[in-house]
């Protein structure tokens, strides 16, 4: 395919796209010209840019086989036909001295002249109101577009663009209106569901006005709106099931005291001096009594509880399913839910996003929750920049200093199992003696299994999925040898709440 053919194909696909959303070829031309002016580029480049804007993914839209087009431009307009007919009749009437022809010619002529008096709808004002600009995934936002058209007569096609990844749930964002003699005042109301976290610009409202008889050129308007819509990731309200207190099966009881945070006046223990300890805490009397070469220091209790580090996998390993339903999106929801739950219970929570190299140091409080959310919102791309092993190395300071409970949110596959094993071994190494005392390692893996996302779509797909799932069992065994607790979240089959319940039982 040569270059011109390629551009033509893109143009045709764009034309199909605009046609499918109710806009004519004229609107596409308007967009192309606008882009040529803005970017000062050639027509070919403008078409390519417009195409990549509309279809950012590599998957091209399928060409529709049935296509109904109304050629409102370039087609012979009714008015041209009427005028031609009128002139023919008038000429016949004058030449043949026949009054019937003259009278007949007057009707289309007067009709056309009346139509000429009216302009294409113009002087448009648009106001857009959103019920909320900050919402969570799956929240419904009501959008109101107030439209006033003062002049002209004809058709008005309004298309209020819905942000990418938003889903229309009620009403319609495309409307066809008719402007009569009176000014048109209209409020278009529709609701959209936010399907994916992120920060979105409020998209423009596109309007095409068509003359009553197509006598004059169509007009195009694009009203841009300021502001952004912030869609926060979904956080489920996880509740711990109250049970009779027993010994925790993992080395992180709820009452565990943190080694970080501000120092209280409660005495904890005397221990050997470590580099970095304040001099004022050295217990000189105790040092003299024991005759130790290394001075002993008093240690006091810290505010807040234990630290929890959440490692979220954003490598291509999480790239399964659709753009809306994939392990990464579920993982983000899990991080948001877990951090909300833990921060509410005064834990120090730190988040490490490996793959994309994002690290949020462990802290507690409401601010930390929003700090985590802000980072998670913009998380979209899959990247293999930083491996899990490397990420553990980079954050070893927190692991050594805080001896945290480590959550790893990933999708366990044969491709990342070795990386996980090496990383977990490193965590165990950094945690040191505190782990050696316990049989269990303070590492919990939340395995987001994407196999069930589309399991019910096809016949026998459930069976295939279950067979594929068997592989996971052998992988789990490898990890369990290291004393790791694994929780499997079968997305599409179980909710996060039901998946998390056994996990939260462990944190007593």
């Amino acid at each position: 395919m040569n270059r011109n053919e390629d551009v033509n194909t893109l143009y045709e696909e764009l034309l199909d796209y605009y046609d499918s959303i109710g806009l004519s070829a004229g609107y596409l031309e308007f967009k192309i010209n606008k882009m040529m002016e803005e970017k000062k580029c050639s027509r070919e480049e403008a078409i390519k840019n417009l195409y990549t804007q509309k279809f950012p993914s590599i998957i091209r839209p399928k060409r529709r086989t049935t296509n109904v087009k109304v050629e409102r431009e370039g087609d012979e307009t009714s008015t041209a036909v009427y005028l031609r007919m009128s002139f023919i009749l008038l000429i016949l009437g004058v030449l043949l001295l026949n009054k019937h022809y003259v009278y007949m010619s007057l009707i289309p002529m007067i009709f056309t002249l009346f139509c000429v008096l009216f302009n294409t709808p113009d002087e448009i004002t648009v106001q857009k109101e959103l019920s909320k600009v900050k919402c969570r995934v799956d929240d419904i936002v009501e959008i109101k577009v107030r439209l006033i058209v003062k002049k002209g007569i004809g058709f008005i096609i309004v298309r209020d663009v819905v942000p990418k990844d938003f889903e229309l749930v009620k009403g319609s964002n495309v409307r066809a209106l008719f402007k009569g003699l009176k000014p048109l005042k209209m409020t278009i109301t529709y609701s959209v569901k936010c399907s994916l976290k992120g920060i979105y610009e409020i998209p423009p409202t596109e309007i095409e006005t068509i003359h009553i008889l197509g006598f004059k050129k169509n007009k195009y308007f694009e009203f841009r709106h300021e502001g952004k819509i912030t869609v926060l990731p979904l956080a489920f309200s996880i509740r711990r099931i109250r049970m009779v207190p027993t010994r925790s099966s993992i080395p992180i009881p709820m009452t565990a005291i943190s080694r970080r945070g501000s120092i209280t006046t409660d005495f904890r223990e005397i221990r050997k001096y470590v580099y970095g300890d304040p001099v004022k805490f050295i217990n000189w009397k105790a040092t003299a009594r024991t005759g130790s070469k290394i001075p002993l220091v008093n240690e006091f209790e810290r505010e807040s509880k234990k630290t929890i580090m959440i490692f979220l996998d954003t490598t291509t390993n999480m790239k399964y399913g659709t753009t809306l339903k994939n392990p990464l999106e579920y993982g983000v929801s899990a991080v948001a839910s877990l951090s909300y739950y833990l921060l509410n219970r005064s834990f120090n929570v730190g988040v490490v996003v490996y793959g994309n190299e994002i690290s949020i140091s462990p802290r507690t409080g409401g601010d930390q929750y929003y700090r985590i959310l802000r980072k998670l919102i913009t998380l979209k791309t899959f990247s293999n920049r930083v491996s899990f092993e490397r990420s553990v190395e980079l954050n070893r300071r927190w692991i050594i200093e805080c001896t945290p409970l480590v959550f790893i949110i990933t999708n366990i596959t044969r491709y990342n199992i070795n990386e996980l094993i090496i990383g977990i071994k490193k965590i165990i190494q950094y945690l040191g003696r505190s782990v050696e005392r316990s049989k269990k390692t303070p590492v919990i893996i939340l395995d987001i299994s994407p196999l069930y996302i589309s399991a019910n779509k096809y016949k026998y797909s459930n069976l295939v999925v279950e067979m594929a799932d068997l592989e996971k069992v052998s992988l789990y065994k490898l990890l369990q040898r290291l004393g790791v607790t694994i929780i499997k979240w079968e997305v599409g089959r179980k909710s996060l709440v039901s998946a998390m319940t056994p996990l939260l039982r462990l944190i007593k």
């Binding site: 007919m85 004058v94 007949m104």
Partner: protein, 233 residues
Amino acid sequence: MRSVTVIQLAIALLTLLIIYHELSAFIMLPKFIGFTKKLVVSTVPGGTLLTPIFENYELIILMILAYASYKELQKGKCSSLVIFAILLYSLTIVNCFRILTGIQVLSKNMKLLIEKLLLLLSINHNVMPPSISLVEGLTLITLYIIARETENLNKIANYLTKSNFPHNDVDKVTMNYLSFLTLLLGASIGTLMLVLYLQGLKLITLPDIRVSLLTAIMLIAIIGLIIYRMYRE
């Protein structure tokens, strides 16, 4: 959408009625049909069976036209039938072509031929007096405008429906458009009636078009230019 179909059906029915009237106005047509009947009966064996067809030729023509218009209506069109009616109507007022015989350059034989051709298309003025003929002409041209506009409206409505616009919007747009079309046509016919009324008052003398050909052409050119400029804008 349904209202458009109803209007198109009404146009088709009215046009068929006008066609029936026009057919009955031709003097030579029954004679020609009678001659064909005789020819068929005498030459074709069992031709007598075809006599009812020749006797009710108008109904047969109307049935054929009705079937053709039904097929057109299924596609959302009806202007072809109106165009046919306008062409037929032109034949009924063809007597005015008699002016051609006054042209000096034509030879005598040519003038005779034209006379004979015009004789073939002569009209029974008892069936179609000039006033009825004028009303029919005006009705047909109005019907043509409505037919064309309903066709366009049909296209737009189909396009809107297929492009997932709300059905309510499509219905509202259709109804508003139709009412506006009625208003415009009403205004056009009203203006024409005003012209006819003023003519009755001898304020305008349209039947006595004694203006020279040059003046007429200039008038047409000026009006055309004005409309063309407006169109360009």
